[in-house]
């Protein structure tokens, strides 16, 4: 029943736990594991978007974040292998993290999404961050929220 697992990571403590758990599940269920890191779009005030240096700056940022993404994914892969996962793939997404995760899940026909949560909710009583909540609320497949 669990055949294709997607786990999203930003190398935070919570998402490291999610990678370990996803890899552990993948090992137990002999499932494929897709590790995804999403590069968010640059958030800029409208006025600054008109600055002539912006394109160069955006390219530099993109290059740095891609390198960071690759490092994060390599480390996650090592972590996953330690837990016994065998069939591991990695991918880099871009834009809104939750939308990117859900898009990948759809295109790659994932059956289980695993995400960590840091508990950064606006209200004290909500122990769930906004990315994980958006994924849990909007995904069409099973979601495993790791704390």
């Amino acid at each position: 029943m669990i055949k294709k697992i997607l786990v999203a990571t930003d190398a935070s403590a919570a998402s490291n736990r999610a990678v370990s758990m996803a890899a552990h599940m993948a090992a137990c269920h002999e499932a494929d594991l897709l590790i995804l890191h999403v590069i968010r779009d640059m958030q800029l005030p409208t006025l600054m978007k008109k600055a002539p240096e912006l394109e160069e700056f955006a390219n530099t940022r993109e290059n740095i974040l891609r390198q960071v993404a690759e490092t994060i994914l390599q480390e996650a892969e090592v972590r996953a292998k330690k837990e016994g996962a065998k069939k591991i793939q990695t991918a880099i997404g871009s834009g809104d993290p939750a939308s990117s995760v859900i898009g990948f899940a759809k295109r790659r026909k994932i059956d289980t999404i695993v995400v960590g949560t840091r508990g950064l909710g606006k209200f004290k009583e909500i122990l769930m961050g906004s990315v994980s909540r958006k994924i849990a609320n909007n995904a069409e497949v099973n979601c495993f929220i790791i704390r």
Binding site: M1, I2, S20, M21, H24, M25, C28, H29, G121, E125, I126, L127, M128, R133, A136, N137, N138, A139, E140, V141, N142, C143, F144, I145, I146, R147
Partner: protein
């Protein structure tokens, strides 16, 4: 890593799927499985409880009768769920009946029994079109201190 799993059931199709998934994971990880069913409190507007024509003993006997029926239903739901789980290979199965608000009851059990994973089904009864998570599952996943698997 996964040693004890809690799954909540109300015998609906989504909670049956949640049970199936919980059983499968319990089997794979040789984990304990706690199946719970929550009996909601009777919802009666406060003012109605106060009307003088309503003899309070009648109200109580009605409530007791409801409670008895709900407990019988709960026992049947849990017995069937346990049979299903054991048939599918889970061998450390316990059941429990909770009362009151379903999400609060589930979270209470999860804490007291120190489970490390909660499995909930969802019917997708969210108020907004973009939100396809029912209210019980949302409340559980938002407030749990343990990992939660939402089964669709």
């Amino acid at each position: 890593m996964i040693n004890s799993i809690l799954v909540a059931t109300d015998a609906s199709a989504p909670s049956n799927r949640a049970l199936e998934m919980a059983v499968q994971i319990a089997g794979q990880h040789n984990a304990k499985l706690l199946i719970i069913h929550v009996i909601r409190d009777m919802q009666i507007p406060f003012d109605i409880k106060e009307i003088p024509e309503l003899e309070s003993n009648k109200f109580e006997s009605f409530n007791d009768a409801r409670d008895e029926i709900m407990r019988k239903i709960a026992e049947t739901v849990l017995r069937k769920a346990k049979e299903k789980a054991e048939k599918a290979g889970a061998n450390k199965v316990q059941t429990a009946i909770g009362t009151g608000d379903p999400a609060t009851s589930i979270l209470g059990f999860a804490k007291r029994r120190k489970v490390d994973m909660i499995v909930v089904g969802t019917r997708g009864l969210g108020k907004l079109k973009g939100t396809i998570l029912g209210s019980v599952s949302r409340k559980v996943t938002n407030n749990a201190e343990t990992s939660c698997l939402i089964v669709r």
